[in-house]
Each structure stands twice: as C-alpha cells, then as structure tokens.
Symmetry: C2
Subunit: 281 residues, 2 copies
C-alpha cells in the first residue's frame, strides 16, 4: 500500500471540502501550494465561467483534475425532462473534457418526482448512462458512477451499492476500455457487509477514491460529514482493499461539512487534510 | 395477496407508534377496540412491571403479541460488557415468553464503543445470537433478527441487509425449526437493489413484517418516519414479495415520529393506521 505521509502529491482536494467560499483561482493556488497532486471541481464553479481559463490555471498549477462533479439527476417524470437531463449532462461532459478531468462523476439521482418506483428510476439511469458513455468516449472523458449511501435512495441516488454500479458497468462497457467505472467514497460504502468482495470485483473499474469520515453522532447525513479520523470509518482498511484492487489514482478528500469545516479558513482545512491523509488514511 | 381493507385483525400495532404517552393498559384496550389482531410491546413498558398482569390484559383483549422489542445492543468493548448484554437479553427473552410474544426482536447494535471494526462487531453479534437462540428455544420464543437501514451501521445495527441476516440464520439454526428468522421493516429494506431476490430467499424465515414510510424530506432518520402513504415506499409491492415468500403473520405498524404522530391523540393515530393499512399497504 502506498504511504501517503509526506506525499500530498498522491492526494487530491475536492473543492466541496472548502465550502465554495473562496474564488476558484485562489482555491487552485492554495491546493497546489500545499503540494496536493490534484483537484476536483464542481459545475457551480465552472459553468458560466471561462472554462478554458480555469483549465489553464489548473495546468499552470500542475494539478491533475481528478473529477468533475457531478451529473444532473437522471430519473424524470416525463420524457422531455429525461432528455433535458441527458443533454445537460452532455454539456457538462464537454466541459469536463476542456478541463482535462479524468472523470465525470455521476451521482445518478433518486426517485423521479412523484414516483415510488425505484426499479423504473434504475432503468432510466441505465438508459442515460449508456448514452453518456458514448458521449464521454467521444470527448475522452471517463464516466465514474458513484454509488451513494442507501440513505439517499429517495432523493439523490437510486444507485446504492458497489455491486449495483458494477452490474451497470458490465452491461454497458467493457472493463478493458476503461471508459466506464466507479468512484468509491468511504462514506457511502463503509457499512457494506459485502465490501471486501465488492471492491475486489471492482478491479480495473475503480476510477476514483474519496475519503472523509462518518461521524458517530451525525447531525445531517448530507452536510455533516467528518474529517478523516474524526469518525468511525476504518479508512486505511478500505484504502488497502482499493489498492489491492489495483487502484493507483489519487486519494481525494471530499468533505461536506456545513457547520464545521466549511466555516474554517481554507488554509486550516487544507493543512488538516494533509496531516490526516498521512496519519489515518 | 391478502386484502387488508376492513381487516385490521390481520394487522398489529407496535406501541412505539403511539409514542409511549398513554399507560400500557389503555394502549392495549384501544388497540383491541379498533379491531387490530395484535400488539408489539417494548421493554420500557414491561420491565419493572408485573409482567404476568400485562400478559393477562393482552390475553383478555384477545390480542396476539407479535413481537417484544428489542435486544440490548450486542457489540461491546470488553468481555464483561459483552456477557452483561447477553444476560440482559436472556432476561428479556424470559419476559417475552411470559408475554406470549411470538418473537424477540433483535436490533443488534452498531460498532462497539470506541471501535472502528465492523467485522468484529458482526462476529460478536453472531456469537451472541447463537447463544440467544438456545435460550429462545428453551423459552419457546423465536429470535427475529431485524436488519436495520445502513444509516444505522455505526450506532444501532451492524446488521444492515436481509442477506446478511439470512447468512446468520443459515449458520445458526435450521429453517425447518422456525426458531430463528428475520423481521422485515419496509423502512430498512426498501432501497435494496437485491430486495426481491433477498425476500424470496427469506422464505420460511420471515417472522415479522413492519410497515411505515420513508418521508422524502426526512428530518431525522431515527424519529421522523412517516405514516404509510405519506412517503415514497411502494409498501404494497414489498408486501406482495413478503407474502409470495409465504409470510402469513400480522402486518405490524411501527412508526417513530417524534414531531408528528407521537404528538397526536392515540385514537387518531390508530384510526389513520387502520385506514392506511387498507388503502396503501
């Protein structure tokens, strides 16, 4: 297993960790200055901006772009809305290409509005993903399906397990092509009784690996995620499984923490991330 | 599939639904008067009371006792605490026997205090369950393992999926004996991509079936559960799977709702439960 201590260049910062408070140029500079090897961006920071200029800033800072977050939710109540979501995602994939992002991260969405039919939502996701993989191939952008914790099945992701994501990958694109895979976030997968087997099955399909922590007394499952080491996830054990499954990409920190880390200066958050990556990840 | 409309005798009320506000005698009388066929009790209503008297009240009201809730959490930091939890559960199983409860419901507990080792927690659960099944057999009380939603993996249940519970059942007691099985609650299982297959696998092992609903905008995953029909779970579809797997026991309503249903008069809650059981379950 790679040693992350003193090696921030093996790690990346997802800008969501910094709460979207500082301008993107400042964030890029700070992430690079702290020695991280990569950055993951969000569409809210990019869309409506000069995308090429942002791409240049990142290139000049010598940062990789690990991921571009995230897909517009897929399941829709009407064909028109379903198509609109796909087109929206295609535009985002084109931006991901301009940014030089390794992956377009898909958070697929939960139930369609007004629906109780999870199976139908999952069929829409499969159909849309099939189309977006083609688009990704054309733009040289990999599609990374991110299974989300089952607590989000209703409103954010009907894709809840690694196995479900891999089933979809196997149906839609050969593993050898490396254009469709999964993004694994410890927050979403740590509880899975089939974790070790599922990660092993993901060999050759792991496009991204995210770390944060599950706080024992979580106040909000969306925006109260913990800094690595402050919660109950055995992050190092999961990283060992992921590296055993031949993942060699950057270890990306993504922490949604409205009441804590987002309120701190980004310098402090980056410093603590670097330290914790070396000690508990 | 059984028709529940006009058949409250096929249904049971878990007293947690009524918020533990009224005295147990009053609750038993009201549940029986509304025509329900059964009731599930909690240890907080029973321990330290005259258990035989409560059992008599229930018998006189002609109610079945579907379940006795719930086990003391198993995973412990020390052998002494582990043993204490098992002994505590044994006493509760003895009370379940006096009450004539069909099942002792096991909510197994999450990580041991201070631990990040889910696998160790699961091993402790397996070891304790093996011992409690023996005790249940002696007292004529079935042990119903209730897998809880993965959102509780840290603090309430390291047993998160139906498959995991069934694996444990298969290891510890033959299905034919019908002393160890699972209690399925739609709130905990609805998200599972393997749901239909897992419920089919549970044939002969389903000892209890709970209904409530997952509110789209859940404010608290513990105590903001919804009345059937107010959320996004396709309850009828899940009941169809459960009955296809030959479950013929009562359909039990269990709703933890601190800010809503627990604040209403129990007469109103019982009336709405009866109505919704007939229309959306």
């Amino acid at each position: 297993m790679r040693d992350l201590a003193g090696h921030p260049e093996l790690c990346a910062i997802n800008t969501a960790t910094l709460g979207f408070t500082a301008p993107i140029g400042e964030v890029i500079e700070a992430v690079a200055r702290h020695g991280f090897g990569g950055i993951a961006l969000w569409r809210r920071e990019v869309e409506g901006q000069d995308v090429k200029r942002i791409a240049l800033l990142i290139r000049d800072a010598k940062l990789k772009v690990t991921g571009y977050c995230r897909s517009t939710f897929i399941p829709a109540a009407t064909v028109k809305e379903f198509r609109a979501s796909i087109e929206d995602n295609k535009r985002a994939i084109a931006d991901a290409s301009v940014l030089g992002a390794e992956n377009f991260v898909m958070v697929v969405g939960g139930l369609a509005p007004g629906s109780k039919d999870l199976a139908a939502a999952r069929r829409q996701v499969a159909e849309a993903t099939a189309e977006l993989v083609v688009h990704g191939r054309e733009h040289g952008v990999k599609i990374a399906l991110e299974p989300l914790h089952p607590v989000y099945a209703a409103d954010r992701s009907c894709l809840s397990t690694i196995d479900e994501a891999l089933d979809l990958c196997d149906r839609l694109a050969p593993a050898s092509e490396k254009m469709l895979g999964v993004c694994l976030d410890v927050y979403h997968i740590w509880w899975d009784p089939a974790l070790e087997r599922a990660i092993d099955r993901a060999k050759g399909r792991i496009l991204g690996f995210h770390v944060c922590d599950w706080l024992l007394e979580t106040k909000d499952v969306l925006n109260d995620r913990g800094m690595m080491g402050d919660g109950v996830i055995d992050i190092r054990a999961i990283r060992a499984m992921v590296e055993k499954a031949r993942y060699r990409g950057l270890v990306e920190v993504e922490i949604f923490s409205a009441a804590n880390w987002w309120r701190r200066p980004i310098e402090e958050t980056l410093k603590v991330c670097k330290e914790r990556l070396g000690t508990v990840c």
